[in-house]
């Protein structure tokens, strides 16, 4: 029996990731939703299991143990709805990012408009390889046909024609796609999504009937200078879910008992980041980072409007595409020992073969963290380009992904984020230590209070408030005079020099007033103009990152080694 959404008071969330399947439990305590417990187990979609059930069952058994709540009945089925004795849950939500690469081909009319929007839409989903072309760049019909056939797409996403705009070009393109679809063996015919001029929608439905699975979405470029991806994202999510349901044994049955349809993890993450951007109404916005095993999701949002980019780089299977595209030296420059280039390369390639392994030694942990910095940097660069951002300046950065959240010391996570993202201005950095954000986003349709109240609970960890001033000064030049008033007459003063990294301890839950006097030409924050404000504590306290942007490492090995060790020691990494 389905429970009305408003009656849901306990909820199980599942995320099927490429390496791990996470199960988390939310429940109401004193009328407020809280994160109660979480557990994970290796994802079982790989051979020989090839289903989601083993990983799911294992993670739920672990969750039963850690939460001391019965979730499964005698036949290992989820108890849904909950029983009078408190066993079971009232609702279930699922997010997924696992699976072999789905190939999405995007086709638009013009490179800077519909084609760009279509490619952006396709790159919002984890586990996808995106191929693109536009009619302006590929005008010949045969070339279009060859591009479609050679990309062997699982999904074709067509965009083009503003509302009441181009018709003929889209009609001709439709014909080429129909022709190409006929070249594929029946079981490989791609699913086609049309998100262009709505005048053609009905005609397209008719033409693609009996040719391919076809879905219409609202126009992603209704006007030449207006982009609207949100409705089409829902359609794309539906298509991806259909594909994954066919790939993963067990997902269909799980879907039947879900309170809302399963969503791609990046979409769940996006909902939370968008919400946070409305909660912190600043033109700086919020950045969400999810550094996973096979993909990295970057979401920037300002006042509820977001940009998503997902790269196929990650610290598991995602190492292979990363290492194929980047020089190993970009990773090893973050390692204090220069003679580890070969060892680092061998280790990362080996890890790409066995993505579920965890670094067992301090050296291999260093190598993975170095790779994480570079993956963050590359993914951020791609995101900046896609979103057309001018500055890496955010009010808040929310970081998720095991490599960031399961570090032995919190300072290691902060170092990776600072080195990888290199934010400027004043930023609060929050860690999703239980990796619940995608799941939390998935709960929003059931009860929008769940994410709101869980975010307010202790499920997230304040890592630090970071101040990264913008200055063009020589290393060693004083650029900032800082006073931190901890209250009760305890005030710390410090002159911050260019090139330095400084940390003031301020534990979570405590606050302090900070006053900064910048030297001439130094900008503390490009948006926030006040030099004095209240700061909130975090595991790493208040950090002033005056190392400059972009961050440049000393070229000399010995100096670089000393510098890296010095920075690490400051943050306790």
């Amino acid at each position: 029996m389905a429970i009305p959404f408003t009656k849901v008071i306990s909820l199980l969330g599942i995320e099927i990731g490429s390496c791990n399947t996470r199960a988390v439990l939310f429940d109401q305590v004193s009328g407020q939703f809280h994160f109660l417990s979480g557990a994970s187990a290796p994802t079982s979609i790989i051979h020989p299991f090839r289903n989601i059930n083993d990983g799911l069952l294992q993670s739920m058994l672990e969750l039963q143990g850690s939460s001391s709540r019965s979730l499964l009945d005698d036949t290992s089925h989820l108890i849904l709805p909950s029983l009078a004795d408190g066993a079971g849950v009232d609702g279930l939500v699922v997010a997924f990012s696992a699976g072999s690469d789905l190939r999405i081909l995007t086709i638009g009319l013009l490179p800077d408009f519909s084609a760009k929007s279509a490619a952006k839409l396709a790159s919002s989903i984890p586990g996808c390889r995106v191929f693109s072309f536009d009619l302006a760049g590929t005008p010949r019909r045969v070339d279009q046909m060859d591009a479609i056939i050679s990309s062997e797409p699982d999904i074709i996403l067509i965009a083009g024609g503003t509302d009441h705009g181009a018709i003929n070009a889209i009609q001709e393109l439709g014909e080429v796609i129909i022709q190409a679809c006929k070249s594929f063996p029946p079981e490989r015919i791609p699913t086609v999504i049309f998100a262009g001029n709505p005048i053609l929608a009905e005609e397209m439905v008719e033409r693609f009937q009996n040719v391919a699975r076809f879905h219409c979405a609202s126009n992603i470029r209704p006007e030449i200078d207006r982009e609207d991806l949100a409705p089409a994202m829902e359609v794309l999510a539906l298509v991806v879910r259909e594909k994954r349901t066919r790939q993963f044994e067990g997902l269909q049955n799980l879907q039947k008992i879900c309170s809302t349809p399963p969503i791609p993890s990046s979409y769940g993450f996006n909902r939370v980041v968008r919400y946070l951007s409305m909660r912190y109404p600043s033109s700086k916005g919020v950045l969400g980072i999810d550094l996973g095993g096979s993909s990295t999701t970057m979401i920037s949002a300002v006042n509820g409007t977001s940009e998503i980019s997902v790269t196929s780089y990650g610290v598991g299977a995602g190492l292979k595409p990363f290492l194929e595209n980047r020089q190993i030296e970009t990773v090893t420059r973050w390692l204090p020992e220069q003679n580890t280039i070969q060892a680092a390369s061998d280790y990362l390639w080996q890890k790409s073969l066995h993505p579920q392994t965890i670094p067992a030694t301090a050296e291999t942990l260093d190598i993975e963290q170095a790779a994480a910095r570079e993956i963050l940097q590359t993914s951020m660069f791609i995101h900046i380009k896609q979103a057309g951002m001018k500055k890496v300046c955010f009010e808040l950065i929310l970081a998720s992904g095991s490599i960031l959240t399961r570090t032995p010391q919190p300072g290691e996570a902060l170092m990776m984020i600072l080195d990888g993202i290199q934010p400027v201005g004043i930023t609060s950095i929050i860690l999703d230590k239980n990796c619940i954000t995608p799941i939390l986003g998935a709960t929003a349709p059931i009860n929008s209070m769940i994410p709101v109240q869980v975010i307010d609970s202790s499920a997230y960890t304040n890592l630090a408030t970071v101040i990264s001033p913008i200055a063009k000064a020589k290393p060693g030049t004083p650029i900032l005079r800082v006073s931190i008033d901890y209250g009760q007459s305890s005030v710390t003063h410090l002159d911050v020099k260019m090139g330095s990294l400084v940390a003031f301890p301020l534990p979570p839950g405590q606050t302090a007033n900070i006053l900064m006097e910048p030297a001439r030409g130094v900008v503390i924050d490009p948006v926030r103009k006040a030099n004095g404000f209240k700061v909130f504590g975090g595991l790493c306290g208040v950090v002033i990152d005056a190392r400059g942007r972009p961050l440049v490492l000393p070229p000399e090995d010995e100096l670089r080694k000393q510098t890296l060790q010095h920075w690490a020691s400051i943050l306790g990494a």
């Binding site: 290796p42 051979h47 020989p48 063996p185 965890i358």
Partner: protein, 350 residues
């Protein structure tokens, strides 16, 4: 925790399904004996397209009736040089098919052709018998013998006489390991650090290489080699594991087949060496639970490639040397101290 199993088995039943990438023709029948390099099926994969404007090519006006210049129909298959269209009685002008092709569409005098690629040929992969035929799509090849599974391959297949050059598990594979007497053989060895050693495989016309590991800097070179290269352990200077070393020794100078395909963790297709041997055997298990007494291999540092026996599965999660926590097992080795490893870093061997 249930985990995949890697096989280093002296005698077992080996059954593999070989599937065409598209519907095509199966060229063998049930119970037929096949060799590794035999084609068991073939199909055509979509080729590139060409659009030919017949009117333009013949210099005719579009008012000319198409039927008067061409009697070709959609769906026809043509050979290279076949006439697509022609005109003129005294001075003939002819448009010919640019290659073996298929007519996809004819519209307004424009013919869209799909140029046919040479057919894709599906290889048996190892010597055996056809156990099952799935018409137009797949065959199941079965044999009995020794199975050695790898972790990485460069996508090639070959068969030949197996020659093991490794005198010990930790011996490096160098140029001096091979000589002209190994021409046409599948050569097995330890880890390889230098490109020069791999070049020797080409110089001496080896048919394939079975190595414990290679330096990751050699990946691109190996990917471009025409001969199959299979890695049993992965990347770095990782010694042959004792089980692999023993099996390669035992089967030295036996006929073997190497399928150096890429490891697909989703389908379970993985690179492997099959050495067909007389006798029987049962199907190896694909997955199992790590228990006390399980034979396991370490997959990442420290001790990559080392094989030991689980002496204890620890309760709850344990903090390991890196400072991270995980569910761990204590593993006892012959030549190394007993060490605790996260279960995810171990591989069950059978």
């Amino acid at each position: 925790m249930v985990m995949p199993i890697s096989h280093f088995t002296a005698q077992t039943r080996i059954r593999r399904t070989r599937t065409l990438p598209a519907e095509g023709e199966i060229l063998v029948r049930r119970d037929q004996k096949v060799n590794a390099m035999d084609s068991v099926g073939s199909c055509f994969l979509p080729g590139r397209h060409e659009l030919i404007d017949l009117y333009q090519s013949l210099g005719l006006s579009r008012k000319t009736s198409l039927e008067s210049i061409s009697d070709r129909k959609v769906g026809e298959t043509l050979q290279k040089g076949d006439v697509l269209a022609k005109t003129g009685k005294v001075i003939k002008r002819i448009v010919r098919a640019p290659g073996d092709c298929y007519i996809e569409s004819i519209k307004d005098g424009k013919v869209l052709l799909e140029i046919l690629n040479p057919p894709f040929e599906l290889k048996a992969g190892y010597d055996g018998f056809i156990q099952e035929v799935k018409p137009n799509w797949a065959v199941v090849v079965e044999t009995y013998g020794c199975l050695i599974q790898g972790v990485w391959g460069n996508g090639r297949i070959a068969s030949g006489l197996l020659v093991n050059t490794a005198k010990s598990e930790s011996e490096e594979f160098t140029r001096s390991c091979v000589d002209v007497t190994m021409r046409g053989a599948l050569v097995a060895g330890g880890f390889c650090r230098n490109q020069d050693s791999l070049e020797a495989a080409v110089d001496f016309s080896l048919r394939g290489l079975i190595l414990s590991s290679i330096s990751s800097t050699l990946i691109r070179y190996v990917q471009n080699l025409e001969i199959p290269v299979i890695l049993l352990e992965g990347f770095g200077a990782v010694s042959l594991n004792p089980l692999a070393f023993q099996l390669l020794n035992q089967n030295d100078r036996h006929d073997a087949c190497v399928n150096a395909c890429e490891w697909d963790i989703y389908t379970g297709k993985r690179p492997e060496v099959v050495i067909p041997l007389p006798g029987s055997g049962t199907d190896p298990r694909d997955g199992g639970r790590i228990r006390q007494g399980s034979k396991v291999r370490v997959r990442v540092p420290p001790y990559t490639g080392a094989v030991g026996v689980v002496v204890q599965i620890r309760e709850g999660s344990t903090t390991i040397h890196s400072g991270l926590r995980g569910n761990c097992a204590d593993v006892k080795f012959d030549k190394l101290p007993t060490t605790s490893f996260p279960l995810t870093n171990l591989d069950i061997l059978e």
